[in-house]
């Protein structure tokens, strides 16, 4: 019973990371129908930026905020500069471009920072809270940060006019244009936001898995599984999916399939959802029948 609770709680912590990354994936997919294979590497690169800032002496939370701002700007730039010229290109071209981005980000990070595995600081104290031994301070803190970020994003989209315009532009770009909304810029904003959310995921997971250019490939896979489970056009589904996958991964890893097959589990989930119920638990159908 002890381990079960501990596994659940640490599962929720990593689940929060998956939820954030899955939310970023869903935000981009909802607006553009694109699968952003580079989401993980973007998050990894943001985390390295944070690390550089911290190494330069910037205290943690200001570095965190600055990283979010820089990641937002980077996401916006990528949409306007790299993606805008190829709007409407066939699926293969888009996949190739995203893979190209993935590979460039991965190698540039490796070049600038080398491939040595590094520790990444956690803003939370090393002793577990309240003297218990089920969950570390970082895990609890990560859950808190994730939930805070998700609530902020929700509030932005639900209650602000700009958030409303972005939702409108994603749902019905033509009608949004007729209302005077510059849909291209709304997409760029969406990209900026998604990249910033990914940065949060990276900074929360780095203390657990340690910082290295390849740290996000497994996380990305779980995030994809989470986004698909929740319904790849449903942000709430993505968040639910993230926590669900986190806990499931931990429990199955501890009790059923062992630590070594966790990625295979993610793969199985992805294929199962795509083949059996492509709309996920909460989404709309996305697969065309031939």
């Amino acid at each position: 019973m002890d381990t079960f609770l501990a596994q659940c709680l640490s599962g929720l912590a990593t689940g929060g990371v998956y939820a954030s990354l899955a939310l970023a994936l869903v935000m981009i997919h909802q607006a553009t129908r694109l699968v952003n294979f580079a989401q993980g590497e973007l998050a990894m690169f943001s985390t390295y930026i944070a690390w550089s800032l911290i190494q330069a002496g910037v205290p943690y939370w200001p570095a965190f905020a600055l990283t979010l701002a820089l990641s937002f700007a980077a996401g916006l730039l990528i949409e306007r500069v790299v993606l805008r010229p190829v709007r409407g290109a066939p699926a293969l071209s888009m996949v190739v471009i995203f893979i190209g981005l993935l590979v460039i980000l991965n190698s540039v990070a490796g070049w600038i920072y080398s491939y040595t595995v590094r520790p990444f600081p956690s803003p939370f104290p090393p002793e577990p809270p309240f003297g218990q031994h089920y969950v570390s301070s970082h895990d609890l803190g990560a859950i808190g940060v994730t939930i805070a970020v998700l609530l902020l994003v929700y509030a932005f989209f639900r209650f602000t006019t700009l958030g409303l315009a972005m939702r409108a532009a994603a749902q019905n770009p033509e009608s949004a244009r007729l209302a005077g909304i510059r849909v291209g810029w709304m997409r760029a904003l969406g990209w900026g936001l998604a990249t910033a959310i990914g940065a949060v995921a990276g900074m929360m997971v780095a203390p657990i898995v340690f910082l290295d250019p390849n740290m996000m490939s497994g996380v990305l896979l779980y995030a994809f599984a989470a986004a698909l489970i929740g319904g790849i056009d449903n942000p709430f589904g993505a968040v639910f999916g993230g926590f669900f996958v986190g806990v499931l991964e931990n429990l199955l890893g501890a009790y059923a399939i062992g630590q070594e097959l966790k990625l295979t589990l993610a793969l199985v989930v992805i294929i199962a959802v795509l083949v059996v119920k492509p709309a996920g638990l909460f989404g709309r159908t996305l697969v065309k029948r031939v």
Binding site: A165, L178, A179, I181
Partner: protein
């Protein structure tokens, strides 16, 4: 005539197919102009051409400024609101959110509140359903919502694409009444594309008849409506 919109030699293409073969017309400020014609004549294409939604050649001058070739969102920001065929409702947003989207370029929440109330004044049914998801509104209500959403732009020219489509006659009559009221009170000029020629001619000041991408007939709406020979030959009633 105080010209708000002037179109000269307008040609338009859907992909590779040329739909408009050079049309000329003008819309006076504050007036209602009907654009009539059978299916496939090019009526919807004309509205889309004005908004930059299709490839065009020729001059489109709105309030002294050439708007041909501008992106739809830029045309909208200059005061041309388009109520598209199919209504273009944001189905997943609520009624009120639809209106807020319509007024996005005019300011934030508080600035729009008064405008939104004015819309509910014109369309009380929308006020009753303000928190309801727009996709669940009836056809007539969605049409009203589309018009209200377009009016949130505070346009000087309102383009309407077949507002009567798929609606019961009584509902259509109600909507046209409101359009007349809006035209009189707010002085919004309207370019009305309609297959229902009778109702359109009732509301309009001027009318044009499109036939396969060219203007076949033009004149005062009243004259066309009263001339039985013209009506029978061109408008089928």
């Amino acid at each position: 005539m105080d010209e708000l919109l002037r179109v000269e030699g307008l040609q338009a293409w859907y992909g590779a197919t040329q739909v408009l073969h050079g049309i000329d017309f003008a819309v006076a400020a504050g007036s209602v102009t009907a654009l009539l014609g059978a299916n496939g004549a090019g009526k919807t294409t004309t509205l889309r051409a004005l908004c930059g939604m299709v490839t065009t050649r020729g001059a489109i001058v709105f309030d002294g400024e050439r708007i041909g070739g501008r992106a739809p969102e830029e045309v909208a920001r200059r005061g041309v609101a388009h109520v598209p065929d199919g209504r273009g409702t944001f189905l997943d947003l609520t009624t009120e959110e639809n209106l807020r989207v319509g007024g996005f370029t005019r300011g934030g929440r508080r600035a729009l509140a008064a405008d939104i109330e004015r819309m509910y004044g014109y369309f009380p049914r929308l006020g009753e359903r303000r928190a309801q998801q727009a996709g669940t509104l009836s056809g007539g209500e969605q049409q009203m919502l589309a018009i209200a959403r377009a009016l949130m732009l505070r346009p000087r020219l309102l383009l309407l694409d077949e507002p009567s489509f798929g609606l019961a006659p009584k509902v259509v009559a109600g909507i046209f009444e409101i359009l007349r009221e809006i035209n009189r009170e707010a002085g919004v000029a309207m370019l009305l594309v309609e297959q229902n020629a009778a109702m359109a001619l009732d509301l309009a000041d001027h009318a044009f008849l499109l036939e396969t991408g060219r203007i076949a007939m033009r004149g005062e709406a009243r004259a066309l409506r009263d001339d039985a020979a013209v009506r029978r030959a061109y408008l089928g009633y």
